[in-house]
C-alpha cells in the first residue's frame, strides 16, 4: 500500500463516534458506528439492505423510528457558527437544526411530496420556516433554485402538483427543496435508486454540480458501488450494523482490504468494455417467434364527447427466441418491455396482424396470439413467468409445499405424493432444501423467495421462462447468485429465457441477444458483444454511458447521456422517431441491427 502523508485537512463538519442503536427489547442494530464528513466532501455509506446505513444517517437528524433507542455514541455537527449535538437537542431546537443546517433527500420522490400542494409551495416551505423572507422573495428564490436544478420552465413547475411531474423531475424538485435553505450538510438516502439509469446519471451530475457550487458536504447512502465511484470522496462500507472499512474512495474501490468489500465489488455487475465474442453456435431452431407485433391501448379521453385517443405501447416488434438461448429486452420504465413480455406469454393479445408462434419440441406449433382454451392450457405448461417483486410473488398464506404443488394441481398432473416428490426435487435444483416445504414465505429472505418463485415456475417442466426484472429488487451479491442459478438451470434443463431488465450490466452477463427498446420500438438489436462494443444508436450509447461503473477511472459521460436520453423526436435526424415516420431496423454487421434512416 502506498504511504500517504496526511495533508492538513479542515475539521469535519460532522463527526459520528461510536454510535450504537437498538430496538426496544432487542440487540443492537448499529454497533459502534463512526464516520466523519468534511466540508465540501461526499461520504458514501455503502451496504446491502439491512446493513444499517439508512439508520445511521437518519440518526444525524434524529429521525429514528419510535422503538429505536440510542444506546451509546455521540454525533457532533460543527460549522462557523458553533457546535451542535443533535442527539441532545430539544424538539424545538431540533426543528431549527433540520432543514436549516442539514437537509435530507429521500429515496421515494413519489412519497416525499404531498399531493395536495404545488411543488413550489412545498419547496418554499423551508424558507417560510427558517428565514424571514417575504412571500415575493421566497417565490423568487424558489424559481432561481428550480433553474439551478435544471428545470427549463421553473414557472410551470412552481405551479405544478407533484403527480404532474415525472420521477426524475420530482427528484430534482426534492433536490431543490433540500438545497434551497443552503444547508451545510445534505443527506441523500438512495436518491436515485427509484430512477431510470439515464435519469440517475443526470441527477447524480446535478448533485455534484450543486455541491461544487455551494461547498456543502454530502452523505450519500447507496447500495450501488457504481454510484459511489462517481460521487464519493470518502466511503464507509457497512455490514450488519458495523462499519467494516472506511477511507478514501479510490483506495477502497481500487484495492479493497476487507473480504466483504472485496465480495461486494466482485458481485457488482459491469458492462464489459471488451466482451468476448461468443463462438458462433450451431443455429438452434426458434422457440418463440414474434412477428409484426404491435399493441395499442385506448386512452379515456379527457372530455366525454371528444374522440378516444390510442396510445401505441409497442409497435413493429419482431423478436425470435432461439431454443436454449436467452434473449433480453432492455429499456427504461415506459419503454413497452413488460407489454412485450405479456404478449409473449399470451396474457395480452397483440393488435390484429401480429403473430406470436411458439414451437414446442415434440408438438404442433401454438399460435399464442389467438389461444383457444385447449391451446392455452398446453401453452401454459410450456411457458412460465418469474416476477420482479420477491415479496409479492408468493402467497403469504400458503405453505411452500402448497405454492409449489399448485401448478401441478391446476394441470391435474400426478398424485399428491408425486407432486411432493417433484417439489423436493425442484427445490434442490434452486439450492434450497426439502425440509423448507412446511414453511411460510415470511420465513425466507428476498433472494430465497426469488429462488422459490423460479422453482414454482419450473414445477410443470416448462421450456420457456419469461423473467420480468427478476433481480432488480435484490442486493447485488444475491443478484449475482440468482443470475448464476438461472444460467445453471438453463444448461441443465435446456431452458430458453426472455429476460426483461433495465440494467444493461445484468443483461451483458446473461443474454445471448439484446433488444434495446425506447417508446415501444426496438432501437437497436444484436448479440451483446457487438452491441456493447460498437453501439450505434444514440440511445444505446446513452444507456451505456449512464451505467455507473464501480471504477473511479470511468466516470459517467454526462454528454453522451444527454445526447441520447432526451425526447426521441430530438435525436439526430438519422435516428429520429416521429409520430408518422418509423425508421426501419437496418443491419450494421451480421445480426447487429439499428433503427435508422438510410
Amino acid at each position: 500500500m502506498t504511504n500517504i502523508t496526511d495533508a492538513p485537512q479542515p475539521a469535519p463538519i460532522l463527526e459520528v463516534r461510536g454510535l450504537s442503536v437498538g430496538f426496544a427489547p432487542g440487540k443492537n442494530v448499529l454497533h459502534d458506528v463512526s464516520f466523519d464528513v468534511r466540508p465540501g466532501e461526499t461520504l458514501a455509506l455503502v451496504g446491502e439492505s439491512g446493513s444499517g446505513k439508512t439508520l445511521s444517517c437518519r440518526a444525524v437528524l434524529k429521525l429514528l423510528p419510535k422503538a429505536a433507542q440510542i444506546r451509546s455514541g455521540s454525533i457532533l455537527y460543527r460549522d462557523a457558527t458553533g457546535e451542535i449535538e443533535p442527539l441532545t437537542l430539544s424538539p424545538r431546537a431540533l426543528r431549527a437544526f433540520r432543514g436549516d443546517k442539514v437537509s435530507m433527500i429521500f429515496q421515494q420522490p413519489m412519497h416525499a411530496f404531498s399531493m395536495m400542494h404545488t411543488a413550489g409551495d412545498q419547496v418554499g416551505e423551508v424558507l417560510r420556516l427558517h428565514s424571514d423572507l417575504s412571500a415575493r422573495e421566497i417565490k423568487d428564490t424558489v424559481l432561481r433554485t428550480f433553474e439551478t436544478v435544471g428545470f427549463t420552465d421553473p414557472e410551470r413547475v412552481y405551479g405544478a402538483y407533484p403527480f404532474e411531474l415525472s420521477g426524475g423531475m420530482r427528484q430534482r424538485a426534492m433536490i431543490a427543496m433540500a438545497t434551497i435553505g443552503k444547508p451545510r450538510l445534505i443527506i441523500a438516502d438512495e436518491p436515485t435508486t427509484a430512477l431510470d439509469v439515464t435519469t440517475q446519471a443526470m441527477v447524480l451530475g446535478l448533485l455534484k454540480k450543486l455541491q461544487s457550487e455551494t461547498g456543502a458536504a454530502l452523505i450519500l447512502v447507496t447500495h450501488d458501488l457504481g454510484v459511489v465511484a462517481n460521487m464519493a470522496d470518502q466511503v464507509a462500507v457497512m455490514k450488519k450494523g458495523r462499519v467494516v472499512e472506511s477511507g478514501r474512495a479510490d483506495l477502497i474501490l481500487g484495492s479493497p482490504w476487507h473480504s466483504y468489500t472485496k465480495r461486494l465489488i466482485a458481485a457488482a455487475p459491469e458492462i464489459p468494455t471488451d466482451p468476448p465474442v461468443a463462438a458462433p453456435e450451431t443455429q438452434p431452431g426458434p422457440l418463440l417467434e414474434m412477428t409484426n407485433v404491435s399493441r395499442s391501448f385506448v386512452l379515456r379521453s379527457k372530455l366525454p364527447w371528444s374522440r378516444p385517443q390510442t396510445f401505441a405501447a409497442v409497435s413493429d416488434f419482431n423478436l425470435t427466441v432461439p431454443r436454449g438461448a436467452t434473449v433480453a429486452i432492455a429499456g427504461e420504465s415506459g419503454s413497452g418491455k413488460t407489454t412485450c413480455a405479456r404478449i409473449a406469454l399470451g396474457a395480452l393479445p397483440p393488435d390484429p396482424g401480429g403473430s406470436v408462434i411458439y414451437r414446442p419440441r415434440n408438438a404442433e406449433p401454438i399460435a399464442v396470439h389467438e389461444l383457444t382454451p385447449q391451446t392455452r392450457t398446453a401453452f401454459q405448461r410450456q411457458a412460465q413467468m418469474v416476477f420482479q417483486d420477491p415479496y409479492s410473488t408468493l402467497n403469504p398464506r400458503m405453505r411452500i409445499r402448497e405454492a409449489l404443488c399448485e401448478p401441478m394441481e391446476i394441470h391435474g398432473i400426478g398424485t399428491p405424493a408425486e407432486r411432493l416428490a417433484r417439489a423436493e426435487e425442484v427445490l434442490g435444483w434452486v439450492g434450497l432444501s426439502g425440509d423448507m416445504l412446511g414453511r411460510y414465505p415470511h420465513a425466507f429472505s428476498g433472494g430465497q423467495r426469488q429462488r422459490l418463485s423460479i422453482a414454482r415456475a419450473l414445477m410443470i417442466g416448462p421450456e420457456f421462462l419469461v423473467c420480468d426484472e427478476p433481480t432488480s429488487a435484490l442486493d447485488v451479491s444475491v443478484q449475482a447468485q440468482v443470475l448464476d442459478l438461472l444460467a445453471e438451470l438453463q444448461e441443465k434443463l435446456g431452458l430458453s429465457y426472455l429476460f426483461i431488465s433495465h440494467d444493461l450490466a445484468v443483461i451483458a452477463q446473461i443474454a445471448d441477444e439484446v433488444a434495446v427498446m425506447r417508446q415501444g420500438v426496438i432501437v437497436e438489436q444484436g448479440p451483446p458483444a457487438m452491441l456493447f462494443n460498437n453501439p450505434q444508436h444514440p440511445y444505446t450509447r446513452a444507456l451505456i454511458a449512464a451505467q455507473p461503473e464501480p471504477d473511479v477511472q470511468r466516470p459517467i459521460d454526462l454528454a453522451a447521456v444527454a445526447r441520447g436520453a432526451g425526447d426521441p423526436a430530438e435525436w439526430p435526424a438519422a435516428y429520429r422517431l416521429t409520430d408518422n415516420a418509423l425508421p426501419p431496423l437496418r443491419a450494421v454487421e451480421g445480426p447487429h441491427r439499428v433503427r435508422a434512416h438510410a
Binding site: 502506498t2 472499512e245 391446476i410 430465497q448
Partner: protein
C-alpha cells in the same frame, strides 16, 4: 478498528460463517401468519379481556335456564316493580349461608307507586340446586333444576322486577339468547352476501362491477330506519317468536352487506395486482380457484375483524327495532323487548332498574368493539 497506512480504517475480519442459510430456522419460521397474528392479539390486553368475556357469554347462553332463578315469563303478582334485592351473608354480626331479607310491598296511593320494605329480622337462606320453573337446557333437555332459587315464601330479584312482577335478572339472561345471536345470524347473512358481491365485483371488474356498485348505492340511498320499520311491519303478526326472530335477523343482514361488499371489492382490487395472483393466472388457475385459494385466505382475517366490528350494529339494530315495538315481540324476550317496557320516563324515574338491560347492551357492544380493534391491530401488517 485498525488504521491502515493509507489512512483507511478497517474492521477485523470476522470468521463467523455466513448467516443467510440459517435465516429460516427461527422458531417463528414454521408458524403461519395466523399464529403470529394470534400472538400479537394476545398482547392486546383490553381486546383479550373482551374476547374472553364474549366467549364466556356465548358459552353460557345454552345454560341460562340453569343460572336464572326464574323463568322468563314467570309472574309474581305480589311483587310488581320490586327493587333489586341484595344477597347478604352477614346477619347480626354472624356469618351465614347466603340469604335475602324477605320484602313485602304496598301500594302508595298518595304517590301512586309501589313501596317495598325489607324485613331485616327474618333472613331467609337461598336454596341451591333446587327445583323451580321448568326450562330446556340448550333448548333440548327438559330440566327443572336451577343453580339457586328464592327461599320458599319470599323472592330473589337480584336486579328488581318489572311491571308484571317478572325477574329482570332472569329476563336479561334469557334476553341474551336472542339479542346475542340475532347479531350472528345477521352477520352470517350479510357476510355471505357481502363476500359474494364484493368478490365478483372486485375480481371481474367491468360491467359486473358497475352493476353491483349501482345496486349498493341504491341500497345505501334508502333511509335505513324507515326501511327497517317497513320490512318489520311486513312480518305477519301471527308468526311465532322464533320465526319473527329469523325474519328480523334476515332483514338486518339483507341491509347490512353493502359496506362489507365495498371493503371486499377494494381489497380484491389491490390483491389482484399482486404477483402471486398473476402467477396463478399464468399457471392457468380458474377464477373460482384464484378467489378461493389466493384472494379470500389473504382477506379472511380482515373479514373476521370487520365482522367483529359489525356485530354491535346488528345488536343495536335489533334493540332499536324491538324498542320501537317492531322487532321481536312478547312472549319472546330480548334486551330490546325489555327496554320497550322502559319507554315511559316516569317509570324509569321511579323504578330505574327497568332500564337495566341497557347495561349488558353497552358492555357487549363495547367488548365487540375492543375485540374488533384488537384484531385489526393484530392484523395490521405494518406492525410486523
Amino acid at each position: 478498528m485498525i488504521r491502515l497506512d493509507d489512512g483507511r480504517y478497517v474492521a477485523p475480519e470476522d470468521d463467523r460463517p455466513e448467516e443467510f442459510a440459517t435465516l429460516a430456522d427461527t422458531p417463528e419460521a414454521r408458524l403461519s401468519l395466523h399464529r403470529l397474528t394470534l400472538r400479537r392479539f394476545a398482547r392486546h390486553r383490553l381486546a383479550m379481556i373482551s374476547a374472553i368475556f364474549l366467549l364466556t357469554c356465548y358459552l353460557l347462553l345454552p345454560l341460562v335456564g340453569f343460572i336464572a332463578p326464574y323463568g322468563p315469563n314467570t309472574r309474581n303478582a305480589e311483587h310488581i316493580f320490586a327493587p333489586p334485592q341484595l344477597i347478604h351473608i352477614f346477619h347480626d354480626g354472624g356469618l351465614n349461608a347466603p340469604f335475602v331479607y324477605p320484602i313485602s310491598g304496598e301500594a302508595n296511593l298518595a304517590e301512586y307507586r309501589w313501596d317495598y320494605t325489607a324485613d331485616t329480622d327474618a333472613p331467609q337462606s337461598l336454596r341451591w340446586f333446587c327445583p323451580g320453573d321448568p326450562y330446556k337446557l340448550a333448548g333440548l333437555i327438559p330440566s327443572q333444576t336451577h343453580l339457586f332459587c328464592a327461599p320458599d315464601d319470599t323472592t330473589v330479584f337480584l336486579w328488581g322486577s318489572d311491571r308484571l312482577g317478572r325477574d329482570v335478572f332472569s329476563r336479561i339472561l334469557y334476553g341474551a339468547q336472542l339479542s346475542l345471536t340475532v347479531g350472528l345470524v345477521g352477520i352470517a347473512i350479510s357476510m355471505g352476501l357481502g363476500i359474494f358481491f364484493g368478490a365478483i365485483a372486485g375480481y371481474f371488474g367491468g360491467g359486473l362491477d358497475y352493476a353491483i356498485q349501482r345496486l349498493i348505492e341504491i341500497l345505501r340511498s334508502i333511509p335505513e330506519l324507515p326501511l327497517w320499520l317497513a320490512l318489520s311491519a311486513a312480518v305477519p303478526s301471527h308468526w311465532g317468536p322464533v320465526s319473527v326472530f329469523f325474519a328480523i335477523s334476515i332483514i338486518l343482514g339483507l341491509l347490512d352487506w353493502p359496506g362489507l361488499a365495498r371493503a371486499v371489492r377494494a381489497k380484491f382490487f389491490s390483491l389482484r395486482e399482486e404477483d402471486f395472483v398473476q402467477a396463478a393466472e399464468m399457471m392457468g388457475a380458474k377464477p373460482s380457484r384464484i378467489i378461493r385459494r389466493h384472494l379470500l385466505p389473504n382477506f379472511r382475517s380482515h373479514l373476521i375483524a370487520s365482522a367483529a366490528l359489525s356485530i354491535p350494529s346488528m345488536i343495536l339494530g335489533e334493540t332499536a327495532l324491538s324498542f320501537l315495538g317492531l322487532g321481536l315481540r312478547a312472549p319472546a324476550v330480548s334486551w330490546g323487548v325489555m327496554l320497550n317496557d322502559a319507554q315511559h320516563l316516569s317509570s324509569i324515574e321511579i323504578y330505574p332498574w327497568t332500564a337495566l338491560p341497557m347495561l349488558p347492551i353497552i358492555i357487549v357492544v363495547l367488548a365487540f368493539s375492543f375485540m374488533g380493534d384488537g384484531l385489526r391491530d393484530a392484523l395490521d401488517p405494518s406492525e410486523t
